[in-house]
Amino acid sequence: MSGSEDSIVQFDNVGLRYGTDREVLSDISFTLYPGSFYFLTGASGAGKTSMLKLLYLAQRPTRGAIRMFGHDLITQPRHALPEFRRRIGTVFQDFRLIPHLSAFDNVALPLRVSGISESDIQKPVSDMLDWVGLDHRRDARPATLSGGEQQRVAIARAVIARPEILVADEPTGNVDPDMAVKLLRLFEALNRLGTTVVVATHDVQLLRKVPDSLIMRLDKGALSDPTGALRYPPRRGM
């Protein structure tokens, strides 16, 4: 596989199809570098969610090669994948909060999965809930939260363990413009700390709010590269 040694993610001629349908992603090749901020854009049905599923390891490609964190993921045994997943934060489009857990416990989940002791969980989770403006709703179950509040809990859960890659599927879709900007600032803060951020969105206004971001555009399963981000290493430490 071609590509730089210091890349964090590399796709090489990746194709994905579900069952016997036509490919939803075709010949996808790109390289993501540590500390970069990417927007993945495209119309509905362009394949953004499928691409993100490959990035957060919910799906294996039907062809091609993927390297992540310096490892060939195609040849990784199944039991090795959880360790990779713990290095990736994911904001799902439908939030996927656990309904019987409080906002606090939902946010704490990645830390508990990683084996962090309860005493080390309390403060960072409280701080994170405070940052997304939900500390007063820490004991609330998802069903009692508004759509925007649920989305903020989902984002807090995705970033709490300080992942090396953050993958977010339409993370600002259900929040007001002020909160959308606030959440983007959180992603930028994470990005400054070294996290590679990939945000899928169809909101072009959002792209302008992160001026140094790089753009990947999907159209009917094919990838275009309007900022040249995918062919050349971008600047570091944006």
Partner: protein, 306 residues
């Protein structure tokens, strides 16, 4: 907000918080009740099997080496003379551990239920003299043959029977009942496994979204399986305890009723401390079985996910 590097990358495990990953529906759910019924039935079957084993063992010990000598002679004087001769001959042998002439009164009492008052009248119904003999060591066919030959030479009216011989059908029946009890225990264990398998699959289906989220957050199959193990283990423990109480209660009541029969054979079926220990192990085995079944079911289902 400070984002400290919190996450350890190796050896993840859930702490006690894992119990909260699944909604807790125990008591209201069917699992503890199913387990309670299964464990109660298994405890009763195991108790019955152990009691039958004790009955058989005690009876076998009691009649091992036992011989009954009857002096079948109509004339009372001759019967008495031959009985005395038989007792003397038997006591003279080195391989005879004990000899007891069954007193006529005891014989009459034994026969009274069948013969009525006539059993006390030796003239009305002549009864044989009975001698209860215990050999040192088991009764074998050659020993019996040799003893019979010696006895008949001096006591022509003597009839010899090994006690184990006429109780053999009883032992066969007891053995069959023991096999039945073992079969019941195995069937109940298989049914418990099936019940836990169904419960685990149902819980997997109900909590699929939760499992997928934990899976995507980097939860391992072992971590997810442990959530179910813990949940089903607690259900099984609650059910097992209730089942044990129910089963022991049933054994106790049945024991009282059988004890009231006053039969020597039944009295031999009393459970000792080792039996109670085995019965107490039934719910423990049930919990282990439930936890292992849950683990294998959940892991098999998770393997179908990436």
């Amino acid at each position: 907000m400070a984002l400290d590097p919190l996450v350890r990358r190796t050896a993840p495990r859930f702490g006690s918080e894992s119990a909260r990953m699944l909604p807790q529906t125990r008591i209201a759910g069917p699992m503890p009740w199913v387990m309670a019924i299964m464990i109660a039935l298994t405890v009763m079957a195991a108790g019955a099997g152990l009691a039958l084993n004790n009955v058989a063992t005690n009876a076998r010990d009691e009649i091992s080496g036992g011989i009954t000598v009857q002096v079948v002679e109509g004339a009372p004087a001759s019967r008495e003379r031959q009985a005395r001769a038989a007792v003397s001959l038997l006591r003279a042998r080195d391989d005879v551990a004990s000899v007891r002439r069954v007193p006529d009164e005891e014989l009459a009492d034994l026969l009274e239920p069948w013969l009525g008052e006539a059993a006390n009248d030796a003239d009305a119904v002549p009864t044989p003299a009975l001698i209860d003999v215990r050999l040192s060591g088991p009764v074998t066919a050659p020993r019996l043959r040799e003893l019979r030959a010696q006895l008949l030479a001096q006591v022509p009216a003597a009839r010899l029977d090994a006690q184990a011989g006429w109780l053999a059908p009883v032992f066969e029946a007891l053995r069959s009942l023991q096999y039945l009890a073992i079969g019941l225990v195995l069937l109940l264990a298989a049914t418990s496994v099936a019940a836990v398998w169904l419960a685990a699959r149902s819980a997997l289906g109900t909590n699929r979204d939760t499992i997928e989220v934990i899976h995507h957050l980097g939860g391992t199959d072992g971590q997810i399986a442990r959530i179910f193990q813990r949940s089903i283990g607690i259900d099984a423990a609650l059910g097992g305890l209730a089942g044990l109480m129910l089963g022991i209660g049933a054994i106790f009541v049945l024991g009282q009723q059988f004890a009231a029969l006053g039969s020597g054979l039944v009295a031999g079926g009393t459970l000792d401390w080792r039996d109670w220990l085995a019965i107490a192990a039934v719910p423990v085995a049930g919990i282990v079985l439930a936890v292992l079944t849950a683990r294998f079911t959940v892991i098999a289902a998770l393997r179908r996910m990436l």
